[in-house]
């Protein structure tokens, strides 16, 4: 093993046993972890990233076996140890685990126990491996908490997980992993559950501590944006195999494997072109029980040469990156020409100024009153949405972005009429007239609901498991004003709409459980479209889906809009997704809209400090050396039950003046006619992001 390596994995195969069936989770996996470098394991869900990481520490669980391979680890004295040969509870492995190599996880809320103070859990990490007194360990813990930027570390030692914000929890988790001065930190999707601004802070932190502690990081993620931000080396996994590995700049500039190329192309990003389609990878990652013979990716590869790829497993081709692919023999082109987004059609020239208003939201607020106490006398008012006004034109897509808890989902549901606003009006254009659709009787509401439809986030929870797809889609045609009496006509409509969203009507007698996540989301869309609505509200419709499937669904939304002239309100936390589909974007913070403008204007020249902060935290799937480091946004959003006086963003805003602390700004036009809710809108110069070009620079 090379001396600059900390760990070297060779030919590792791991299986799980489930109900007497063997599932091969890893097949012949090889990669190296160099000292003091960050290696990213990247791939879609079910590709064996987490299993790989857990195998390194011997914590895969009792129902797994290592079938083959070696994991060589160069211990501090320089001797080589093969982890595969060690028992999971052997002394050597336990010394490695938690001392030399530590791990952090995706969701610190559940990965930390809520029954012990974080101090207790952090101290334990050290005392497990070193003979130190409680006080020494405590002192060290406070020191490390300080190092990871925990505010008031002394006091936070005594707090419990549920008393911390998401970012603070992840900091505590990282501190715990740093207690023993590890040589390797394994991070399993550590930023996936976090908001973008928090993600930026944590990534920043990880880079800093890596330098400070001189350790290696094995970073697991599905997000290519994160990879481009943090990786030195990249290992791309597919169906439990390593399909490509190499230095990060090579992976992004000259990817060689069709899967890597497809992943890079399919990731949504700001391209300055909203009438666009993303290149997609057809199908989904097959289940482990249906592993293709030959090349693992053969079933979805556009270069698949069946007589070759379906029969033999491709060898590893060394080069600028190492790829497991037949490459030239299968006709994979040498050069990677990034498939940029393509303009779907050229008749899409919109005459926005002439288009009619489809939906009008006028000063809508929504509060929830939470009663607590023994006889519920105490009241807490949670201001989920405050004085929101906006308009959407016919055929337009308005993207609604904001971090979790900002009220975007509540606003979406209020507009859809599933909850009533506490204040304000919502009007919908019905037959050329603006009609109010809020605060209606249940009967009138049902009439409005044929025009305004909703697509849910969770493709599993939003479909009744007891109804067939046909029944689910036909529900709105059986009831209410869009009722189709004639059964044959109704069936015809259901089949029509199923075909429209890319599902086979012949499968409409099946139950939802027979479909994959992406297909289920198509069912959800079909249900929304059945009564021929004018406007569709989509609440995070792609955030539960894998990258490749995400692109398929986003394209579907685009196609449907073009063909049916639909109007969308597209709610999402993901600025990359929103940029890809929206004509205009509204940014929400603490229940208010802080800025609203056409997509290009928002992304290239934001006017609100919060928008700028959000944009600076957006990661793009593109490697650029020496990224100009931006200042990540610190702190966390205010509690909607206890909003600060004045501008809600003021406590986190680096531009805040005393006026901002006291008076709440309203959404008004600035000098250039842009709508911004900021007292200093005309004074500030803020920078946005540049569009990612269609063709990557070599």
């Amino acid at each position: 093993m090379r001396t600059d390596l900390l760990m070297s994995v060779q030919g590792l195969s791991v299986s799980f046993w489930e109900e007497k069936r063997r599932l091969q989770a890893l097949k012949d996996v090889s990669f190296d972890i160099p000292k003091s470098k960050t290696v990213c394991l990247v791939g879609e869900s079910g590709c064996g990233k987490s299993v790989t990481a857990r195998t390194l520490l011997g914590i895969t669980g009792a129902n797994s076996t290592i079938d083959e391979g070696t994991i060589h680890y160069s211990d501090p004295k320089g001797t080589l140890v093969d982890i595969v040969g060690l028992k999971p509870d052997s002394k050597v492995l336990r010394r490695l685990r938690g001392n030399d190599a530590t791990m952090i996880f995706q969701e610190p809320m559940t990965a930390l126990s809520s029954f012990y103070t974080i101090g207790n859990q952090i101290v334990e990490a050290l005392r497990q491996h070193e003979r130190v007194t409680k006080n020494q360990a405590r002192a060290r813990a406070i020191e490390v908490l300080e190092a990871v930027g925990m505010p008031d570390p002394q006091a936070q030692m005594e707090s419990y997980t549920f008393e911390l914000s998401g970012g603070q929890r992840q900091r505590a988790m990282i501190a715990m992993a740093l207690m023993t001065n590890p040589r390797l930190l394994i991070a399993d999707e550590p930023t996936t559950a976090l908001d973008v601004t928090t993600q930026a802070v944590i990534l920043d932190l990880m880079r800093t501590i890596q330098k400070k502690f001189e350790m290696s990081i094995l970073f697991i993620t599905h997000d290519l944006g994160v990879v481009s931000e943090i990786a030195d080396e990249v290992v791309v996994m597919y169906l439990g195999e390593v399909v490509e590995s190499g230095p990060v700049e090579q992976i992004f500039s000259k990817p060689r494997h069709p899967y890597t190329r497809a992943l890079i192309s399919a990731a949504p990003h700001y391209a300055g072109n909203q009438e666009s389609r993303l290149p997609v990878i057809p199908g989904i990652v097959p289940s482990l029980l249906e592993r293709p013979t030959g090349c693992a990716f053969s079933t979805r590869c556009q270069h698949n040469k069946s007589e070759l790829c379906n029969i033999d497993r491709p060898p590893i081709n060394l080069g600028s990156t190492n790829v497991r692919c037949f490459l030239g023999r299968a006709g994979v082109p040498e050069e990677f020409k990034k498939e940029g987004v393509t303009t779907a059609s050229d008749e899409g020239e919109k005459t926005e100024s002439l288009a009619n208003v489809a939906l009008q939201v006028e000063s809508v607020s929504r509060q929830f009153v939470k009663r607590t106490g023994l006889i519920r006398r105490k009241e807490k008012t949670i201001r989920a949405v405050t004085e929101v006004s906006l308009e959407i034109k016919e055929g337009e897509t308005l993207g609604l972005v904001g971090e979790s808890g900002c009220g975007k989902t509540t606003l979406g549901q209020t507009i859809a009429g599933s909850i009533d606003p506490s204040d304000g009006k919502i009007r919908l254009a019905i037959e050329g007239q603006m009609r109010e659709i809020s605060n209606l009787s249940e009967q009138e509401r049902r009439n409005a609901w044929q025009h305004i439809r909703f697509v849910f986030q969770d493709p599993f929870a939003s479909l009744n498991p007891r109804m067939t797809v046909f029944e689910i889609v036909s529900e709105s045609l059986r009831n209410g004003p869009s009722r189709i009496e004639d059964r044959r006509l109704r069936q015809q409509r259901v089949y029509e709409v199923l075909e429209r969203v890319g599902l086979d009507p012949a499968q409409s007698d099946r139950y939802p459980h027979a479909f994959s996540g992406g297909q289920r989301q198509r069912i959800g869309i079909a249900r929304a479209l059945a009564p021929k609505p004018k406007i569709v509200i989509a609440d995070e419709p792609v955030s539960a889906l894998d990258v490749s499937v995400q692109a398929q669904i986003l394209n579907l939304f685009q196609d449907l809009q073009r063909d049916l002239g639909l109007t969308y309100l597209f709610v999402s936390h993901d600025l990359n997704v929103v940029s890809n589909i929206s004509d205009r974007v509204a940014v929400m913070y603490a229940g208010r809209i802080v800025e609203i403008a056409p997509t290009d204007e928002i992304y290239s020249s934001p006017r609100h400090p919060y928008t700028a902060a959000l944009l600076s935290a957006v990661l793009t799937p593109e490697y650029t050396p020496n990224k100009s480091r931006r200042e990540p946004l610190q702190g966390h959003p205010p509690n909607p039950a206890n909003l600060p006086p004045g501008c809600s963003f003021a406590p986190r805003c680096s531009f805040a003046s005393s006026n901002c602390q006291q008076n709440s700004p309203t959404l008004e036009c600035d000098d250039e006619g842009r709508l911004v809710a900021c007292h200093r809108k005309n004074e500030l110069t803020l920078s946005g992001i540049t569009r990612v070009s269609g063709n990557a620079v070599a």
Partner: protein
């Protein structure tokens, strides 16, 4: 809390008084069997004597008033002595037996439950599961009967009662206490089996869930030994739902005690209550039901306190005054 106590006093009293028939009816009925016949006015006199001629509400208010202001729980018609005299010792024994049984259940069931979950599908787990099923399906009194039979048949002695005959009426002494302990184990086992079975099942199921939580993986990745991490994390987490069900368990023990005491001939509240009910002994029966319910409420209070000690979340809620 106060509401609960108040409702309990109402329920305890009206359950006895509302159904048709009272103590005087019993006397008359009994007398009839011996050929005596009471005149109408004699019956009325009797009613007046026992205070049964007033309306149910009046009787309740009088009873409550006496309890609140004079600590007087009324008079037992059947025994001709004040209720408090009759029940004080028996209530003590019932409490002791219930608490001892609860302890027994914990000591036996928690380790077995943990073992069963950690060594899932081992021989020990199957054995525990079997015991669990038996405890679940065999009614208390049947178990008591079987034990009675076995001890009689194979050891030639009766295991009933809480004291040997020579101590029953003796004043309290250390010897009497030891004698009590030596008799306590049979009723404890009989009463505790169902609870033990239930707790084993519950702990096992909870722990099996908890063993797959992410924090277990975290602890494992820290290098903790399996035993240490299981005890520190998942066991602690799985105790939570168990403790919040504690009052339920305690209520069931008190409830079961009534019937087991009858079968085993224990000098606790059970047989007294049964007899009082059959005789329509108003104040005795009401007071007994009331006290047993209070005991159960104390159990609830205790379990809430335990939960507060155990769960920092609830502790915080309590501090913020969300509980009471």
């Amino acid at each position: 809390m106060m509401i609960t106590v108040f409702v309990i006093t109402v329920v305890s009293f009206f359950i006895i008084i509302l159904p048709p028939g009272d103590f005087v009816d019993r006397i008359v009925l009994e007398a009839n069997q011996y050929g005596e016949v009471f005149e109408e006015h004699e019956i009325a006199d009797l009613r007046r004597m026992y205070g049964l001629d007033q309306s149910a509400l009046e009787q309740y208010l009088i009873w409550m008033g006496n309890i609140l202001f004079r600590g007087d729980f009324g008079y037992s018609f059947g025994w001709d002595v004040p209720v408090s005299e009759l029940i004080s010792q028996r209530l003590g024994l019932t409490t002791t037996l219930s608490v001892v049984t609860l302890m027994f259940i914990w000591i036996v069931a928690i380790p077995i439950g943990i073992y069963s979950a950690v060594r899932k599908y081992s021989l020990g787990d199957y054995a525990a599961t079997f015991v669990g099923f038996v405890g679940l399906a065999v009614p208390n009194f049947l178990l008591a009967l079987v034990l009675l039979y076995i001890s009689f048949r194979y050891f030639g002695q009766s295991v009933g009662g809480l004291f040997s005959p020579e101590y029953i009426n003796a004043p309290w002494s250390f010897d009497k206490f030891l004698d009590l302990l030596s008799h306590l184990w049979i009723p404890t086992i009989v009463l505790g089996t169902a609870g033990t079975a239930e707790v084993i099942r519950k702990i096992r199921a909870n722990l099996l869930d908890e063993l797959h939580r992410p924090y277990v993986l975290t602890a494992r990745a820290k290098g903790l030994t399996e035993l240490n991490l299981v005890i520190k994390y998942p066991v602690r987490h799985s105790l939570n739902p168990f403790v919040s069900d504690l009052n339920d368990l305690f209520v069931k023990i008190i409830s079961g005690e009534t019937i087991v005491a009858v079968v085993l001939g224990l000098q606790t509240t059970g047989p007294l209550l049964l007899q009082a009910l059959k005789e329509e002994d108003l104040y005795l029966a009401s007071s007994l039901i009331m006290f047993l319910s209070f005991l159960a409420v104390l159990g609830t209070l205790f379990s809430d306190l335990c939960l507060m000690l155990l769960d920092p979340r609830i502790r915080r809620q309590a501090r913020e005054g969300e509980m009471m």
